[in-house]
């Protein structure tokens, strides 16, 4: 368990299994996320990372096990109440509409809409402005979504989710297809939100070094199961990585942050560097 103090947990997942047709997508998943923690989910393609995020929100129904948010079963929350607490940024969201950025972000206020409310309240507009400021996209306010670059789109997606004012923020590979500057920008922003708003974050990342750098805890997944979880130094060992990814790596350390750093090694290069016998 990542944290043993039950009351501090924002999310507790216990023996969760999800199955689609005859195939298990998640098997016997158990973990706790303390409040204000940034947990990174890592693992090879198809290991169930995205499924886990979608199962937490109830989008993919679970077959067995329990998911508790703030000590209450996730099913006890109404859909609207849950979307005020948990926001998710999905990888699959396509922003190809001609909608304006501001209108898109205002859709994030939908969970707060009353049944017969037709127009956004002043508070909604104010919150949309605030999240645009936090994510530094004020200049994009009146731009159309389909005219944005990849990095801008990702920031806009994050801003829309932040407009939900979540306490638990789930992100599925938010740094995909982005250059290093945008990757750093997004992860720094998330770390700032985590500190300032005491927000809990679960983030799926492919880059092990980014995960090591920005996450407090890591969950390493393999074939729908948790292979290992804990601090980066315990998870990112060459034995763990080699057995899950079937890839050679060398462990190292980031000279500035002193956090674990993983060097990839191609077998061809390894052979070349070996002295001829």
């Amino acid at each position: 368990m990542i944290n043993n103090e039950q009351n501090q947990h924002v999310l507790s997942v216990s023996q969760l299994s999800c199955r689609q047709s005859s195939q298990f997508q998640l098997r016997d998943i158990s973990f706790n996320i303390p409040k204000g923690c940034c947990a990174g989910i890592i693992g090879p393609n198809g290991s169930g990372k995205t499924t886990l995020l979608k199962a937490i929100t109830g989008y993919i129904p679970s077959k067995s096990g329990t998911i508790q948010y703030c000590n209450h079963a996730i099913e006890s929350y109404s859909k609207q109440a849950l979307s005020k607490e948990i926001a998710i940024v999905l990888q699959s969201t396509e922003l190809d509409q001609s909608m304006h950025v501001e209108d898109y972000i205002l859709l994030g206020r939908n969970p707060y809409r009353k049944r017969w409310q037709f127009w956004e309240s002043e508070e909604d507009v104010h919150i949309a402005e605030t999240v645009m400021k936090i994510t530094q996209i004020e200049s994009l306010r009146y731009r159309q979504l389909n005219a944005l670059s990849g990095g801008e789109k990702q920031l806009v997606r994050i801003a829309r989710a932040l407009a939900q004012e979540p306490n638990l923020f789930l992100l599925d590979e938010p740094t995909n297809h982005l250059d290093i500057a945008h990757q750093l920008q997004i992860l720094t922003l998330l770390n700032r939100l985590q500190r300032q708003k005491n927000m809990s974050i679960m983030i799926v990342l492919h880059d092990l070094n980014l995960a090591s750098e920005f996450c407090d805890q890591l969950i390493l997944m393999e074939n729908g199961k948790i292979f290992k979880m804990g601090k980066a130094k315990d998870v990112l060992t060459y034995q763990n990585i080699e057995s899950v990814y079937h890839t050679l790596v060398i462990e190292g350390e980031n000279p500035i942050s002193k956090k674990p750093y993983v060097f990839l090694v191609s077998e061809d290069n390894l052979k070349k560097s070996m002295p001829q016998s």
């Binding site: 979608k54 929100t57 989008y59 859909k79 609207q80 849950l82 979307s83 005020k84 948990i86 926001a87 998710i88 999905l90 699959s92 969201t93 396509e94 509409q97 001609s98 909608m99 304006h100 209108d103 859709l107 994030g108 939908n110 969970p111 809409r113 017969w116 409310q117 037709f118 127009w119 956004e120 939900q164």
Partner: protein, 330 residues
């Protein structure tokens, strides 16, 4: 007041004024032209005149059918394009028109429509209803797992009913074939006044319900997963709106035949000029659809007067040309 709300009311007012103007012109013009100032005078003072009968018994019901059908078909187009997130879907894609056409052709061929005045639209509705029922049964029994499969099944049902329709035509006598073909090409003429008012009320109710769900449509247009995570009951909202679109289309097709293009083009046209916010698009499409179809019917009535063209042909021709022009220039 919210800036968007102000914009909404301005657009609504302008469109309503245009609609009123178009209705007036459509009342005044026809085989017998009446000037607009005389129009009011006849309507207020000459209740017993022939002109009054023409205006109230022939032209007004046609305009009301035009408003109901144009509005309802555009509305269905807006709903279906948002729910399926596919810009090429239109009210006839789900096979509802095919079902209605089949019902009508069966009633003509087997001479079932001679005993009751209502029977042609009645059989159309039965045909459309069967298709709606088939789609919903497949949906309810879990055959349809996602919305794209639902769309594919709709397209297949459309092909099947169209083939059956063709089969019936090929087996029918020539005068029967003529009446089936004339119905297929669409007309706003409906002699039964009660049916006209029924259609109008259903169509306006549809507009009201869709407007209530317009914010949900905005969220749904982001995709199923995102809508779910924004607190929308995706399945429930989708089923209500699809059912509404089917009912509206079924009624329209049964009464006015197949009037193509309106449901496909009007929502696009409105989005091109007014943006993609469904709060505006829903109501603007309804009124624009009504204006468009009344104008097309006016052309159909007056172009080769006293003969009359089927309105479906005019909507296709005029709609297509205007849309290409707008697309090229915007």
């Amino acid at each position: 007041m919210n800036q968007k709300a102000i914009k909404f009311w301005i657009i609504l007012s302008i469109l309503l004024i245009i609609l009123a103007g178009v209705c007036m012109i459509a009342l005044a013009m026809g085989t017998m032209n009446i000037s607009v100032d005389k129009l009011f005078w006849i309507l207020l003072n000459q209740i017993d005149s022939t002109e009054y009968t023409i205006l109230m018994q022939i032209r007004l019901p046609r305009i009301l059918v035009g408003i109901a059908v144009g509005g309802a078909l555009s509305l269905s187009g807006v709903i279906l394009q948002a729910v399926f997130r596919n810009p090429l879907v239109e009210p006839y894609t789900l096979g509802i028109s095919g079902g209605a056409a089949l019902g009508v052709s069966i009633s003509i061929v087997f001479s079932l429509n001679q005993s009751y005045a209502l029977s042609l639209p009645f059989f159309g509705m039965i045909g459309a209803g069967c298709v709606i029922l088939a789609i919903y049964c497949l949906n309810a029994f879990g055959v349809v797992q996602n919305v794209q499969r639902l769309l594919l099944i709709g397209v297949m049902i459309s092909f099947i009913s169209n083939s059956l329709f063709m089969l019936i035509i090929s087996l029918s006598k020539s005068e029967q074939m003529h009446s089936i073909m004339f119905w297929t090409m669409g007309s706003l003429e409906e002699p039964n006044q009660m049916l006209v008012y029924c259609l109008l009320i259903i169509s306006l109710l549809g507009c009201l319900i869709t407007s209530i769900y317009s914010v949900d449509l905005n969220v749904l247009s982001l995709g199923e997963a995102d809508a779910f995570h924004l607190g929308i009951h995706v399945e429930r909202v989708r089923n209500i709106l699809l059912f509404l679109a089917s009912i509206l289309t079924g009624f329209c097709v049964s009464i006015s035949g197949i009037i193509g293009f309106v449901g496909l083009v009007v929502p696009h046209f409105v989005r091109l000029f007014l943006g993609s916010d469904h709060r505006t698009v829903v109501i603007a499409s309804y009124i624009t659809g009504a204006i468009f179809i009344i104008l097309c019917d006016l052309l159909a009535r007056t172009l080769i007067s006293p003969m009359e063209l089927p309105v479906g042909i005019v909507t296709g021709l005029v709609g297509g040309l205007i849309f290409i022009y707008a697309l090229v220039n915007k």
